[in-house]
Symmetry: D3
Subunit: 242 residues, 6 copies
């Protein structure tokens, strides 16, 4: 391990300050502003009493996600995807990841033939927007489900477990938890990990952006991720008053 | 005047509570959250040292705007324009209106060959998103210009006057200032007015959604708009500490 | 008032020569070539016995419009929108304006569950294409309705009033009626006004392209528009033999 | 030959009334309304002093074509291609055919590095729109070239020969010249033939829409086409005063 | 005839080596690799128990085709159409041609309300990809029909005749059969001919790419095509064991 | 381990029959057909002496990939992406993965300002198309580099190591190597692993499609992947004659 210094003197295995603000906007069934340091994502959960065609008549519901970034969420302005007329490959990858992560903890049969759409819109970006999105979307989805139960539309919750996500990476030989932008841009290996409240893996996506990584580096990263997600899961429970 | 009651017992000629929060996000040269009651729009101003092709080599700069609405800014979720692959006619109309309004108070020659892009993204909608956008975008543009001046890139400001906007309408015979959503949906005539700090008209867009309107109704609406914009212009100055 | 001279020594408050030719093409239920001087627009009205999804089962009909410009209707060739794969913001604004203007005089309940589509295609452009389109589309829609009545499909006309439109503007201090292209390109303020036969306003869209305009300038422009539209409404009646 | 009767008692080997009206609109370098009976196509030729990238720096010019049909040129309204966001395969086939036909008689070296764009827009359709387009586009291109010569931009004409086109087909065993819509829809074989003034073939596109056709039927069709194109070429010369 | 030498000393009226390999892939109802010399096209026939909307409820089936070229099927890499977001005009022309050619020999009534889709994907290109596609697609369609008959879904075959295609052209005065790429690029006239097993014409598409061609040249080309297609039809029968 | 039986009695830790056929087509600088059992992917490497804009003037080259699937490579026909006008999120994810994997072993500085494009087109699919693509693309890229060296355009190879990929998964509790389609569709966890010849990780993408997976399951999967990639790397060397 090197004596590398992180911004704000953060420890290598420490999360940034995480804030989860529920009821951030008024119209959505669930609306959460999640902050991982300077990364701020608005996650809304919308309930619609219909399902996409591949679920119609199945008795099952659907949970899906869309992701967007405001043009000036980043250091330099990026083109607006609506103006360009298409979503980038990166955007599609991220929204597919969020959707799969949510479905991993949902019992679609218990949800009934309705759809919960999670919209994750990045207001301000500083690394980790996809992991913040997953962590916040879970809380928004939980609020939407609570509303359905309060309305008597659901008797039991279709949510089987919590789900949260964090990034880990190796920067100049040091494994780091929860990369902010300058670290992400400089690191050799970047891994996004999604886990359940029970501590099992939902998604692991590791990429060597510089040198390929060894099995022991992978083990170190997974251990860091387990620690970080354990903390996030506790913060979710606290935000939900559970 | 009828005895019609507005939500919150607001007077017919009163604005909703208006709040202008500068430096709302950290990356943009200007970043303003503008609130007209429950309508909340994030307006960022981005400076780029290049101009579109129709201005290249002209010695003049460009000021332009884009507008978007988060899918769940509204009562029911609307489709994400980036996912649909195109911006609606409504979106294009609004962003063209914002851009023209900004250019009406900018000296493009004095700006020099650079572009200021105003991104107006609706976080929460309750009527009047385009007028809030114009009112907030002016403040964001002012901050971006101040930054250029502080950096020594501009010696004199290219901004010649303030610009702000408000909606007015006729609901069951009563002219109303600053329509919120339920009023906008029910009114017969809807007019958006953009004016300068000097009290001159930049844009007037009136539409009879129910019965056509008379000349005297038009006069009443314009008078209401003049009153409202006078107040907005004062609020902009106050927010900017001028 | 200045002593400014208009092309063809036209008076400041005079329309260009207006011609309305019905039955210009053979297939459409209404087909009108409308000419405002050198501006020539073919307006066709097509009746279809179906409605868009938001009207299905409502018992109401729909009236809508599309607008296009032939690539060489203008001084220099413009790109074909079909080849570019999208309609410009300007095109969408104009066709939305035409559609709203037509619906302002239609009783959609009385129309029954059918659609009238107005296609306004500019054969030759010299300023005022949108106002010519509205003025001609009304006549084409009237012919289509007459055909429906002659066929016994409608017992009473769903058209409640006439509708026509004109542009007005301020060029070097002088308010002018019915701007042709060279005037439109040079003027400070440009306003399009849509009014009913009864003399009430349907749409007012004024834009300061140069200096912002005052309330008294606005009054002068509205008065000019009222005069012009009064003449257009008479010409429509004459063309229809009413 | 059968005793089949054509609309208007036209002979099997007769063209419909053909009219070629030059200078139909005022802005284009060449502007021709061509009528084959009820089929009416506006053909404009636009000269631009630039070439597409594959000709840049080659010393050669380019001649190209675009084709469109107004939505209500036909019996029932067809969708506007600009609104659908793409040109149909049929549209692309036709405009590629028109472009190749024009280039067959153009010396691109003699044209110099400039582009002539032929826009063929169908105002009213009754069969044979592509053959009318080619026949009219030639005249529009000729006018555009004459203008370039009158301006001293070209010393010798880059046009080497005339070009015109006609449809032929077999309807219930009878070979027919210049099919109108009802004949085209009913015929077994449909062939479009493009020929030069010298009587040579530029394009032959024959399609069996019902039963496949024999070699002797093909010979009969080609003979009819030669007769028709001979007449069209004479009409072009007459229109151009040659 | 000149003493021109073809690659591989092929005679002017000789086909390249033609190979037809059935069952080339395992999933499709018909799967044929067709080779005309170095041109290799994979033709698959897919049966779906549904029809497009214009055939729904008609009791008739549909036969259609799509065409594609792998990016590096050619000498230099061409852009992937899926990445560009649209099919070129050339691609659309070819797939429309293949579809019409197949339908010319299909009794859609006898096929019943199902669709056969022919996908023709060029693995390697050396001229004649569209004629190889038609020739191979026929065999793939035949295999798909045999499967439907073996499954008892069809009692009698809806295929009325064979269909095959070949290119012919004139290169420096010599009519040639089955052009390979270097010949196609250099020739003055290029003609694609589609014929039935009975020797009748389905499609004739001749284009003068250099000088226009005479009637006698056309006759020579058609004679060559008849010879070549006669051989292809025999090869199809042999491949199918008929 | 359970007593689960794999198709063909394959052992849980056995690859399918892998075949790597070089020089499969004639035009590309590298052309490889790679087969993992019934999965067949054509991988071509194309060299172009230009770079995308973000590399222009950098002295560095670029390596990129595109992925496609023929419509009937699968059990049921899927829509052609070129016809739909866009690539799916899945396609984009896969081609981004292939591109990153190739760049992980390329020294872009040593490549010089040129681009190698890897096109991976699935001829027949039976699971593992992305891992077969990466394994085959490496061999195609190696052939393209060898050609550049033989032509004297490169003095030393920019390829620093081999790269190959395999899928692993857990099916009813048993970790399996190299999933074929029926296994992939039924498994709980699916992981794609990309490694270098030196045995280090380039990408790890694990997804719980059913129950979330534990750390020990992850370890078992990674061990299986290491074994499989070791064998693939040896097969690549053998195919290349190294």
């Amino acid at each position: 391990m090197s004596e590398m210094t992180r911004p704000g003197l953060r420890a290598a295995d420490a999360l940034r300050a995480v804030r989860i603000t529920r009821h951030y906007t008024i119209h959505a069934e669930g609306s959460v502003l999640v902050e991982f340091g300077n990364t701020k994502v608005l996650c809304t959960a919308s309930v619609e009493e219909k399902v996409p065609s591949h679920k119609r008549g199945s008795g099952e519901g659907w949970v899906t996600a869309e992701y967007g970034m405001l043009p000036r969420a980043t250091h330099t302005r990026s083109d607006r995807e609506a103006a360009k007329g298409k979503q980038s490959g990166r955007t599609q990858e991220i929204q597919r990841l969020i959707g799969r992560s949510m479905r991993a903890v949902f019992d679609l049969q218990a949800l009934g033939e309705r759809t919960i759409s999670l919209d994750c819109d990045v207001i301000q970006a500083d690394g980790g927007t996809r992991t913040a999105s997953i962590t916040g979307a879970y809380v928004a989805a939980h609020d939407a489900v609570s509303k359905l139960m309060a309305q008597g539309k659901l008797a039991v919750s279709p949510i089987r477990d919590q789900v949260a996500a964090i990034s880990v990476g190796i920067l100049r030989g040091t494994p780091l938890l929860d990369l902010e932008y300058v670290e992400d841009a400089a690191c050799d290996t970047d891994m996004n990990v999604v886990m359940t409240g029970a501590g099992h893996f939902v998604e692991v996506q590791g990429t060597a952006e510089g040198a390929a990584f060894t099995r022991s580096e992978m083990n170190a990263l997974l251990a860091l991720a387990e620690k970080g997600i354990g903390e996030l899961v506790a913060l979710q429970r606290q935000a939900l008053g559970l």
